[in-house]
């Protein structure tokens, strides 16, 4: 199945002011970067795709995931994954339970789910971390768990909301490479929101402003 995320004349205004105007197709494995200074409404685009746009915003246009309009679906049925600036791991659950939470309920049986958790941890180079308290992991380890958690939900698209900005320089390059490579391997369409030029270049895809202008770096 070819995965693709299309925004068709997605326009968002607030109190008459235009914040988002995007028409773009993102194929599986591609990363679209939306770039602009803070407060320019980058995250507004993500909220629209997730279905969490506050009522104060007016939205028009289409959001198509694999050709299907998703903008009338509730957030949990959209199959759009999200990575935050921080890892937002659930502090009351172990690393393993955090990961297992994301596995679709169609996967039955404790054994099968535990196996998927172990596989995911192996891929992230964190074999044996399932029983750990997330608060005892390093920043880089937590970032990798967060990525694996998002992927275990089998998303049809991934949204990255400045996920590297809180990491220090060395870790940032490493986690960024790991994340982008995983997205390419899984052939998932992704949107990266950032104000960092290095992130945008590393993403390797189109770079647009919130109003749909090409950004030249």
């Amino acid at each position: 199945m070819i995965k693709d995320l299309s925004l068709n004349q997605l326009r968002i205004t607030r109190a008459g002011k235009e914040m988002i105007d995007l028409t773009v197709q993102i194929r599986g494995g591609e990363v679209l970067t939306i770039m602009g200074p803070s407060g320019a409404g980058k995250s507004t685009a993500l909220a629209a795709i997730l279905g969490t746009l506050p009522d104060a915003f007016q939205r028009s246009g289409q959001i198509l995931l694999n050709g299907q309009e998703i903008s009338t679906l509730p957030t949990h049925e959209r199959r759009v994954g999200l990575l935050f600036q921080d890892d937002v791991l659930f502090p009351h659950l172990s690393v393993g339970a955090n990961l297992a939470f994301a596995i679709p309920t169609s996967v039955k049986g404790r054994q099968a789910r535990a196996q998927m958790v172990d596989d995911a941890l192996n891929q992230a180079g964190l074999a044996g971390y399932a029983p750990r308290d997330p608060a005892t992991l390093s920043g880089g380890q937590r970032a990798r768990v967060a990525l694996m958690r998002a992927l275990l939900a089998e998303p049809c698209a991934l949204l990255l909301d400045e996920p590297f900005s809180r990491l220090d320089a060395a870790l940032r390059i490493q986690i960024r490479a790991f994340t982008l490579q995983t997205i390419r391997d899984r052939q998932i369409p992704a949107i990266l929101v950032t104000h960092d030029a290095e992130d945008a270049v590393a993403a390797g895809g189109q770079i647009l402003s919130p109003l749909g202008h090409k950004v030249v770096l």
Binding site: Q9, R11, L50, G51, T52, L53, P54, D55, Q58, R59, S60, G61, S71, T72, L73, P74, T75, H76, E77, R78, R79, V80, G81, L82, F84, D86, V88, F90, P91, H92, L93, F101, A102, P104, D133, P134, A135, T136, R149, A150, L152, A153, P155, L159
Partner: protein, 569 residues
């Protein structure tokens, strides 16, 4: 080409539709009993050209009873407010302040009746204080013939009320303080040359007071109409108006009920008048404050005075409460304890052994009522708060006012009406009818306790779970509830404490046949068996205290391997 706006996504499951109605149901449960009760109380008074009202107005004791009600209510509220503000304004966030913060929960957990009994044991002519200074300082070999307790001026009652009101107002103040930007404003004022206290008064107090207004009105209304404390500490012949109303209610003759209803009507008018006058006084105080700001209030002397006074009064009242409770405990295990002795000659468990079966029964019933009321309140509050989050509802100022309605309209005013209603429905005297009545008073406190932590939960946890495909119910059960375990348990402990402490609703809706620890303790207080009173008072205190202890211990045990869930101090 203009695009057509799309409808926003609205999950419309049956459960979701039901959840959406939770706030409405809660409002109904708060307003309906108060309204129906008030109507039931006031309507009979208007019969026969308001004959019952005329009977009350010609009662000889009325002027004194009314004066007592106003005096004890207003003075205790004003005193508690001043002490609270002194503590907050002068202590900053140093060690003394943190200690007071830690003392708050146990102080709040003490039921009014137990606090009053403890205080009575302390200040009575034969009480602990008199014993401590006798005979070496006073020469008393027998208890002196002094009306310290139940004094006609109502001072013992005022003192008792303050001891319970200071912790409550302090808690409300601490909750409101973060929203006032207090630290920076005081610092700013100090950098302009004002003292700490002056900076607090000019810079923080107006914002703070706006948030304290409803709690203060609730305290004022409560203090003016309290019954259990008035029976234990207040004057007799005449007692305060509210205590007299209950005496009339217990009068088997029909005219007694009419008098009670008329008295209750008068009591509502009295409380509402007091609140209006208090409101006017606020306006005057606000003018004075503006004038002080224009005059460049510096008040360097206030800084040196406020701290020791605030500390002394704050810890003084805490000490009064705690030593009163210690007195209850000591009496309950006292063998022979003659007058001038400061401690009993012998200790014995006889009292506990004899009262054991009755105590266990009362405790079981008290707990059952408290558990039902608290669980019902918790379910409603969680549904309201979750509906608020899920449907992006914004609670208005009206919502907050409705929450305070059962706390501001005096219990004595609408409970007689509810009692008539429960008699007509044939549920008077059943324990679950008492629990239903408790719910009206438990609900606001559970809501107030849980709302802030619920609303301030990081919204990204919700979003993360949703983006991982979690349905609303799963999100609520596996993410929201465990993350909020600590505040939920605290809210439950608050609910239990409120229910355990209820006297009037238990007495009236229970028809005197539902005997909880509180009704028993108050009933015993008119007798002379100090050992038994001590046992009941202590049991009544230990029960809510155990609830708070569990609320602290359970999350610590459940999340002992989760550093991210540690309590933030």
């Amino acid at each position: 080409m203009p695009n057509k706006p799309l409808p926003s996504p609205r999950p419309t499951s049956k459960a979701g539709a039901l959840l959406r109605q939770a706030p409405r149901l809660t409002v109904l449960l708060l307003v309906a009993p108060v309204a129906a009760g008030l109507f039931g109380t006031i309507a009979p008074v208007l019969r026969d050209h308001a004959a019952p009202m005329q009977a009350v107005l010609t009662w000889q004791g009325l002027p004194v009873a009314v004066m007592l009600s106003v005096k004890t209510g207003v003075l205790s509220t004003l005193g508690a407010l001043v002490i609270t503000l002194l503590v907050v304004a002068s202590l900053g966030d140093g060690r003394a302040f943190r200690l007071i913060q830690h003392l708050l929960a146990p102080l709040l957990a003490v039921p009014h009746a137990a606090a009053a009994l403890g205080l009575a044991f302390l200040i009575a002519p034969s009480g602990w204080l008199a014993r401590l200074v006798s005979p070496w300082a006073t020469g008393w070999q027998h208890p002196p013939d002094l009306l310290v307790l139940n004094d006609p001026g109502g001072w013992a009652l005022t003192l008792g009320l303050m001891a319970k009101e200071v912790p409550f107002l302090l808690l409300m103040t601490l909750a409101a303080l973060p929203q006032t930007d207090a630290r920076r404003r005081v610092l700013q004022a100090q950098s302009l040359g004002a003292g700490r206290v002056a900076g607090f008064v000019v810079g923080v107090l107006p914002t703070l007071y706006a948030q304290l207004r409803l709690p203060i009105y609730a305290v004022l209304a409560y203090a003016m109409t309290v019954v259990d404390m008035a029976f234990i500490l207040g004057p007799t012949l005449p007692p305060t108006l509210s205590a007299q109303i209950v005496i009339w209610m217990n009068d088997p003759s029909l005219s007694g009920r009419d008098l009670a209803a008329a008295g209750a009507t008068l009591q509502v008018a009295l409380v509402l008048t007091a609140i209006v006058i208090w409101r006017l006084a606020e306006a005057v105080a606000s003018r004075l404050l503006t004038r002080a700001a224009w005059a460049g209030l510096r008040a360097p002397l206030a800084d040196r005075m406020a701290r020791p006074i605030g500390l002394a009064l704050g810890f003084g009242f805490a000490g009064l409460l705690f030593s009163g409770l210690a007195g209850l405990g000591l009496w309950s295990v006292a063998g022979l304890w003659q007058f001038p002795d400061a401690t009993p000659e012998t200790l014995s468990l006889t009292t506990w052994r004899r009262a054991g079966p009755d105590l266990v029964a009362s405790t079981g019933l008290t707990l059952a009522i408290a558990a039902v009321a608290t669980l019902a309140a918790l379910a409603l509050v969680l549904a309201c708060l979750e509906a608020e989050q899920r449907f992006s509802l914004s609670p208005g100022a009206n919502g907050l006012f409705i929450l305070y309605l059962p706390l501001i309209i005096p219990q004595i005013a609408f409970l007689p009406g509810l009692q008539s209603l429960s008699l007509r429905l044939g549920v008077e005297g059943s324990w679950w009818a008492v629990a239903a009545a408790h719910l009206v008073f438990v609900l606001p406190y559970v809501f107030l306790s849980l709302a802030a932590p619920y609303r301030s939960l990081d919204p990204r946890f919700r979003l993360a779970a949703q983006s991982l495909g979690a349905r609303p119910l799963r999100l609520f059960v596996t993410v929201i509830l465990p993350l909020l375990l600590r505040p939920i348990l605290t809210a439950m402990a608050v609910g239990l404490a409120v229910s355990i402490g209820q006297y009037l609703p238990t007495l009236l809706i229970g028809g005197g046949r539902v005997e909880t620890l509180t009704t028993e303790a108050v009933a015993l207080s008119s007798g002379a068996n100090r050992r038994l009173i001590g046992a009941y008072g202590l049991a009544q205190t230990l029960l809510p205290a155990a609830g708070f202890a569990l609320a602290i211990a359970l999350p610590a045990i459940v999340f002992r391997h989760r550093r991210g869930m540690e309590a933030r101090t």
